[in-house]
Amino acid sequence: MLQSFYIKINKKRFKARFSETILEVAQRNNIFIPTLCYHSDLKVKENCRICLVKIKGEKELKTSCSVKVKPGMEIFTDTPEIKKLRKLNLELIFTQHSQECHDCVWFSRCQLLDLTKKYQADTSRFSNRKEKRPVYKFDSALIYDSKKCIDCRNCVEVCQNQGVGFLELKGQGADIRVVPSEDKNKDCVYCGQCLIHCPAGSFEGVGEFEEVETPLKQKGKKVIFQFAPAVRTSLGEEFGFPLRTPLTGKLIAGIKSLGVDKVFDVSLGADFTTMEEAKELITKLEDKRKLPLMTSCCPAWVKYIEFYYPEFIPYLTSVRSPHIILGGLIKTYWAQREKINPQDIFVVSVMPCVAKKYEITRPELKIKGLKPVDYVLTTRGLAQLFRKYKVDLNKIKPLQADHPLGYHSGAGIIYGATGGVMESALRTTQAMLNEKEISKIEFKKVRGMKGVKRALVKIKGKSLKIGVVNGLGFAKEILEKLKENPDLFDYLEVMACPGGCIGGGGQPIPTSKKIRNKRAQGLYQLDKKRTIRTAHQNPVIKEVYRDFLKNKKTAHYLCHTHYSRKFKKGLNILPPGQY
């Protein structure tokens, strides 16, 4: 059977395969067809009608996102008629969207603006019809500005795919609206996948960069930045670097140039998490009834358990997430060392995540009355800060993270990709149990973009049943199975965002499967290059455990937390002007 064949697009011949859509062939060959509601992660909806093309012999125009290619097909993507239709359609779409370009998550890469320019749409032909629609705040993580919504429904679908279903479609016709659910059994978990998949910038993280500027200007404040593993291979996308370019050194230099006192690396925090989690796993392996042990680095996953499946709370590891541990250490260990009053320290975490904005408000995480982390900036937020202060990553000379909380293992880096927490913990657990140096570093079965990854790992003669859930949408099925059969797994990693943190809600947009893959590859390459690739071999880890975390009580206080069942709070609609 012929697998591939030729089609013509704008009179040029291109190779195509049977399962491909016109849009896919065009994109593969760098032929521009505009899209808005299309996202490669989601179902084809054909809602926005922007990608219409002419197929020779067909009476009506067709959406290129939905039509599969056929041998001999002749396609025209930009006839005068199509151009006119796109112009008119854009005029309509644009006027159901309130512009607020200066701090939009799309910033300079806004497709709406680009398209209106390209097709010379006259956006003043109609008045903005959504001016009076409300702005919602989802706890301290996300803002949903329904004035900007263009009714494409990507957010509703992705929220459903995440197994959350908090965003719902109400109404009909021009009164159709995406609204947060009023159902008391549905609540947002702050994963931010809505934001990542919205073509119109209707969702954004709470706050973003402005609040960081104040402490930077305050005298006597020590501002400490720490950045997550995933940030280093994704930030470059905001500035036109090729995908997966590691920018660790430039990123540190850029932050330093803002007047920040110290820059530490959350990958070290990850090493601490690994240490504690490995210990907890080893303890729990003695008592099978306490298994499976479930990871808890992902605050969206934790909220999901606390809200949707509170019966599983005891299975979540009590170990704090990496940036929370490191934040705590900055305000205790490091503060003592440097003789600084912890109250004068302002810790900013640069995270690929919006749920982390919510996580830092959890009161049980406080260390001696202080929040371990004062502010969470997303990857995008940092990019905005860089742009505002004209930090040129192309020119800036790379710097290393500060001593001592900047040194980390390779295991700490792969935390940013799905399976990374599991792999890091396995590296160290194996070593702890074998007592000799470990033989195996790479656990490739837990890597990759599959929704659910399962493997049997032999440790000290015992086989460990491990599972990695990549994307919250797969969690429900696993949890339901666990209810029936608790023996299914001994150790389970769950990350809410597809691809893990590299696909997080705080990451640059667009995000797609291809982009997530590249970002993850970048992290694995960095791990490979590290001489020390396990948490327990990290000299800083050894030093801090020896000098500071020597008694169990301190270690527990700084590295562990607890969880509780969560109930839905009322919807928070921001009054006009307050946003």
Binding site: V44, N47, R49, L88, N89, Q172
Partner: protein
């Protein structure tokens, strides 16, 4: 009679769907019949949502036996596990008992289903969504309902008028008739006459040819095209409605407002041209001197780029009215 023969007979009679799209009935049946599937469904659509169309009710009221027989024939021909008779809410209330009695007497696997929405459910895939209990919105095509319809099974969807004529064809009692819903004349009502007659003949035969200057809307009372007196030598089309408007007493803008109110009400909101376009048309029509250029642009967009046939057809009444009758010179 064998399924092949039934289809052959329908084909020979030249029956076309009476739900508006005028797709050849035999071809549609053949498509569903040919698909291999464990389960197939039949839906008889009696949801009559368009203004000034009364023929579905006419059938329910006066020809329920033929209708049920038509459903039975279709069901046997395509081997449908179940048939749904999908009825507008008020029809459901009025005719359910009578129809159920017939179904029970003949012991047929036909379920009468109360319509969930309005006009929108006249679109086949929206109708299927409605039966499945979802939002009333059209589905992407392909797959067509004949391949994947109700619960993803091959599904034959026919208007009740189509099925009524199927029974007449099989009983050798069909001479190419169709139903005309006539309003605005001296003798409004539903008439059964040859589909070959010109509109002029239909109006004359039924005593509805006005003695004043007029234009008509044919097909349906919202999406139908506007025809001038001199254009009435053509035959009826679509849903078979003929609405007479006296030229002097009809304010074209009011007429357009009436249509647009209907389309605002009956808008699913799925695609941007139709959702936004209709909203802006209403906005424009409420202005004193609406920009004609924008109206034309919006109609062009609706016709060329809407998702479903309803959105595409919506431009027709407006465009034909503007072109043939003119609107703004008379709006004084």
């Amino acid at each position: 009679m064998s399924p092949e023969k039934v289809i052959q007979k329908i084909k020979k009679a030249g029956l076309k769907g009476r739900g508006g799209a005028e797709f050849p009935t035999a071809l549609k049946w053949e498509m569903v019949r040919k698909v291999k599937a464990e389960k197939k469904y039949l839906i008889a659509n009696g949801s009559e949502g368009e203004p000034k169309v009364f023929k579905d009710e006419f059938i329910l009221k006066t020809h329920p036996f033929e209708l049920i027989e038509g459903i039975k024939i279709a069901q046997e021909t395509i081997k449908a596990a179940k048939a749904y008779l999908y009825l507008r809410k008020d029809f459901f209330q009025k005719y359910k008992k009578k129809l159920e009695k017939i179904i029970k007497e003949k012991n047929l696997p036909i379920i009468i289903f109360k319509k969930q929405g309005g006009y929108l459910c006249g679109e086949e895939t929206t109708l299927v969504e409605s039966l499945e209990g979802r939002r009333l919105e059209p589905r992407s095509r392909p797959p067509y309902p004949s391949e994947k319809g109700l619960w993803d099974c091959p599904t034959l969807i026919n208007n009740v008028e189509t099925l009524y004529y199927v029974s007449r064809i099989i009983n050798n009692n069909y001479q190419g008739e169709r139903l005309y819903s006539i309003s605005g004349g001296d003798h409004p009502g539903v008439y059964e006459l040859s589909a070959d007659l010109s509109l002029k003949q239909v109006l004359k035969k039924t005593g509805n040819w006005p003695n004043f200057k007029f234009f008509v809307q044919v097909g349906g009372g919202a999406s139908g095209e506007i025809l001038l007196t001199r254009e009435l030598n053509q035959t009826g089309s679509g849903l078979g409605a003929i609405i007479i408007y006296p030229e002097d007493k009809t304010n074209p803008v009011s007429l357009m407002k009436k249509w647009i109110d209907f389309f605002i009400q009956e808008n699913c909101g799925k695609c941007s041209p139709c959702r936004e376009g209709v909203y802006r048309l209403k906005e424009l029509l409420s202005q004193k001197n609406p920009d004609q250029e924008i109206i034309k642009d919006l109609l062009f967009l609706l016709e060329k780029s809407s998702f479903c046939p309803f959105g595409k057809a919506m431009a027709q009444p407006f465009s034909s009215l503007i072109k043939k009758v003119g609107i703004f010179n008379k709006n004084k």
